[in-house]
């Protein structure tokens, strides 16, 4: 309580050039280059924030920057990478490690019956170890969950196995692969499990075994992360901060292309889908209570006037009933959009859990209604599996035929399209040169409230080759390129 706010006359705001400020500036520029939206206000906040935090405290420093610069949790990972690149060499981490090393060589290493006379700097203390001894130390450290030791060993294994050479133009993943291959962590897990089985007094129950295994897996995962950041640190030292930051730049989750999403990215996408569909629900049922007033409610106004002595001071209005949106989603799940189709199915599932009246259809060259698979099913994996195996979507050869699929749709379900129905079509409109049957969309457009087409292909590819989106799009209320979450969100915004 010694200082007051007044004391905090921000010296940094006057543009004094200090090394820290310069560093921060570079850091913020790199964040922007990585795609994070950092505003001017936020960068000023960050500068003020670090003046309250001792820079030696790396964790606190990181949180201070994170809290002021990153306002979206899905961006946190990108932030962490940039942070590590920028502050890895400058941080005091190395010194800490050396101190730890001195302490460790005293007690911990002695435990593994390894005696080292002196404690030179860096990872040198261990350079005399044979590979077997290193493995043994790793095993012990994993068994005891010894964090400091693991960090040290990670460093040593990188020095020993990654085979890093200055100036060699290979990515960090290559070094990571080499290091991990030499450490052989899979058999390490087996050894660890054997050890804890031995240690246990009685037989482990399956539950206990499972818990042990999860624990060791976590520790190994932790070790992998240590190795990864160790490699990154060495690369930064070799190539310089800017170059390294550039190679590590990855798209933010909302910019990941559906068509080329990796497994991990896909899992992230799925998680972000639910909030989006909730938003979609809100947009489609837009006649909500708030802001839209219906006709005067006479009874209610009179009743309220009683508390104002009979003066109708506060007119009351009837609320319009929110209309229940009916949605029909027609999705292409053929091979040409396979990656998108996986995403589509999740989208379908998410949509059908938000709306009461959703009917879902999937097609390749035949078309089938899949509402029954998605409704009331609690496990998305199962639902997707059933759609993929049970839906009757192949008519002749399993190559997409939009014309025929629309034909079936119109014949069987066309009568269900009403003035309240919104029809969403998801697909790339690559028709394999079959007949387009676009008159069906024209008719559907007349009957439905709105008809939208969402295409996972870049706009530049539309109407090239066998894509006939242009022909279909004439009859839609809109055709949109939807290749990532950002675009999907933009589409939902447009629905208003």
């Amino acid at each position: 309580m010694s200082s007051t706010r007044e004391l905090n006359e921000s010296t940094h705001a006057e543009g004094q050039e200090s090394p820290l400020l310069e560093l921060l500036n570079g850091f913020i520029v790199e964040l922007r280059l990585a795609g994070l939206p950092v505003s001017l206000t936020e960068s000023l906040d960050a500068m003020e924030a670090v003046s309250h935090i001792p820079i030696e405290d790396r964790d606190a420093f990181k949180y201070a920057l994170g809290a002021t610069l990153v306002k979206n949790y899905s961006h946190w990972k990108s932030f962490e990478v940039v942070f590590e690149v920028y502050f890895s060499i400058r941080g005091s981490e190395y010194e800490i490690q050396e101190n730890e090393l001195e302490n460790l060589t005293g007690d911990e290493v002695g435990e593994t019956e390894y005696q080292q006379g002196e404690a030179p700097s860096g990872g040198g203390a261990m350079s005399g170890l044979s590979p077997e001894e290193l493995q043994e130390m790793l095993f012990r450290a994993l068994l005891n969950g010894d964090q400091a030791m693991l960090r040290l060993l990670a460093r040593q294994s990188v020095i020993r196995y990654a085979g890093m050479e200055p100036g060699r133009p290979v990515g960090g993943t290559y070094y990571l692969y080499r290091t991990l291959r030499n450490l052989d962590l899979d058999s390490m897990l087996d050894r660890l499990m054997d050890q804890s089985r031995e240690q246990a007094l009685s037989d482990l129950t399956q539950l206990e075994e499972r818990l042990e295994q999860d624990e060791y897996k976590n520790r190994i995962e932790e070790l992998k992360k240590q190795i990864e950041s160790e490699i990154r640190r060495s690369l930064v030292a070799d190539r310089g901060v800017e170059a390294m930051a550039r190679t590590l730049r990855k798209p933010l989750p909302e910019d990941v292309d559906f068509m080329h999403a990796s497994r991990e990215e896909m899992a992230n996408l799925r998680r972000s889908l639910y909030p989006l569909t909730r938003k979609l629900a809100a947009r489609l049922a837009r006649r909500r209570k708030y802001g839209r007033r219906g006709p005067l409610d006479f009874r209610k106004t009179i009743r309220h006037s009683l508390s104002y002595g009979g003066v109708p001071a506060e007119p009351k209005f009837k609320y319009p009933r929110p209309s229940k949106p009916e949605i029909m989603v027609v999705a292409d799940i053929s091979g040409s959009v396979a990656a998108f189709a996986r995403f589509t199915l999740h989208l379908l599932y998410a949509i059908s859990s938000q709306f009461s009246k959703v009917r879902s259809f999937v097609f390749i060259d035949g078309l089938d209604e899949v509402t029954r698979f998605l409704e009331g099913v609690e496990d998305i994996g199962e639902a997707v599996h059933r759609v993929n195996t049970e839906a009757d979507v192949v008519w002749v050869d399993g190559h997409s035929d939009y014309g025929h699929a629309f034909g079936v749709f119109w014949e069987k379900y066309g009568k269900d399209i009403g003035p309240k129905t919104t029809v969403l079509i998801l697909g790339d409109a690559r028709n394999n040169y079959h007949a387009s049957q676009s008159w069906i969309l024209k008719e559907a457009h007349h009957k439905a409230r709105k008809l939208y087409w969402l295409n996972p292909e870049p706009r530049a590819y539309w109407d090239t080759g066998d894509s006939i989106l242009g022909e279909y799009a004439t009859y839609c209320d809109g055709a949109y390129e939807v290749r990532n979450l950002r675009q999907l969100e933009a589409f939902i915004e447009k629905l208003v």
């Binding site: 309580m1 200082s3 007051t4 706010r5 007044e6 905090n8 705001a13 939206p37 505003s39 001017l40 206000t41 936020e42 000023l44 906040d45 003020e48 924030a49 309250h52 935090i53 964790d59 606190a60 949180y63 201070a64 994170g66 809290a67 002021t68 990153v70 306002k71 979206n72 949790y73 946190w76 129950t205 399956q206 539950l207 499972r210 818990l211 999860d214 624990e215 976590n218 909030p275 909730r278 938003k279 909500r288 209570k289 708030y290 802001g291 508390s307 104002y308 002595g309 003066v311 001071a313 506060e314 609690e378 496990d379 994996g381």
Partner: protein
């Protein structure tokens, strides 16, 4: 460059207008120990950001999965600093008359009727829009309070994006503009916490004004400490086992992962049942405390059960 200068001047102006207040917290460690005294176990990130919020005089926006102690943090900070907690629960359709202020129509009307004969209309009109007829709602109350205050704006993602704008003035300048009265400048800069469950993206304008804190599920170590701190008389080994099982369950692909509060419920249940060591049977029987969807319970029991029989038993029990 021009923009920068204007902004800085703005901020300097702001600092002058604010009443000088002593900082509430000495350092990060102090925040952390203070919070643990009121049995809220903060990690370094949480404590650090609470400390910064005080130093920078900025609100904190807290996001994270449900049941990880977002609201509790605000309550605990209030308790630890001995401040009054003012809470604004957000909901769809919240408007300024519920959040900021409202004119007391009834009192105004009585006033008009009482003075109708004797006084000039202009005089009455002046009186009508004075502080006597102003009803303070939580936001206005928070900045006008004399004693230290912690303001909690709960579940801010529930209001419409248009309503968010109501918060902007108070969050950045700690003042409220009332057309009839002018600007009401606060007596103090309260600590402000906003929580959001992330059902929708908050506006950039709001985020820009806040420090951002994401509270995730705690790691093993912290969860164990939380169990021990919140439930007195808990066996250390049992707490450890609980924390480990919960962590393993969170790694499964479930509809809803168990929150910290559900972990605590489960721990209490086990304590009441007098269980000293969790085996698969106990876990399957009490899984419904931890997991709230049938499909999740089935998945978890399948993963952890010793043999398929016990699943069937559990299912029969569930059916019965």
């Amino acid at each position: 460059m021009l923009v920068v200068i204007i902004f800085l001047e703005d901020e300097a102006f702001l600092k002058d207008t604010l009443i000088q207040v002593d900082y509430r917290f000495e350092d990060v460690a102090g925040v952390r120990s203070g919070l643990s005294d009121v049995s809220y176990l903060a990690d370094d990130g949480i404590a650090g950001i609470v400390y910064l919020a005080d130093r920078l005089a900025k609100p904190v926006l807290i996001e994270g999965p449900a049941g990880t102690g977002k609201t509790q943090l605000a309550k605990s900070v209030a308790e630890m600093s001995g401040a009054r907690l003012i809470r604004l629960q957000c909901y769809e359709g919240l408007d300024e008359s519920k959040a900021l202020y409202e004119w007391n129509y009834k009192k105004q009307l009585l006033r008009i009727q009482a003075e109708n004969e004797t006084r000039d209309w202009n005089e009455i009109e002046d009186d009508l829009f004075s502080e006597d007829f102003l009803l303070s709602r939580p936001l206005l109350e928070a900045i006008r309070a004399e004693e230290p205050v912690v303001l909690l704006i709960d579940e801010v993602d529930r209001v419409e994006i248009e309503t968010e704008a109501l918060l902007l003035e108070i969050l950045s300048e700690y003042q409220v503009s009332i057309p009839e009265l002018g600007t009401v400048v606060g007596n103090q800069v309260p600590l402000v916490f906003l929580t959001s469950n992330g059902t929708r993206e908050l506006s950039e304008a709001l985020k820009r004004r806040c420090l951002y804190l994401y509270i995730d599920y705690p790691d093993l170590e912290r969860e164990r400490e939380i169990i021990n701190a919140k439930i007195p008389g808990m066996d250390e080994n049992l707490a450890d086992q609980i924390a480990r099982i919960v962590r393993s369950i969170r790694q499964l692909d479930l509809k809803k992962h168990p929150s910290v509060s559900e972990t605590l419920d489960w721990a209490k249940t086990l304590l009441l049942l007098g269980i000293e060591k969790i085996d698969a049977d106990v876990a399957t029987e009490t899984a419904n405390v931890l997991l709230k969807y049938r499909s999740d319970i089935e998945k978890a029991t399948k993963e952890f059960a010793d043999n398929p029989d016990s699943i069937e038993e559990a299912e029969e029990e569930g059916a019965a």
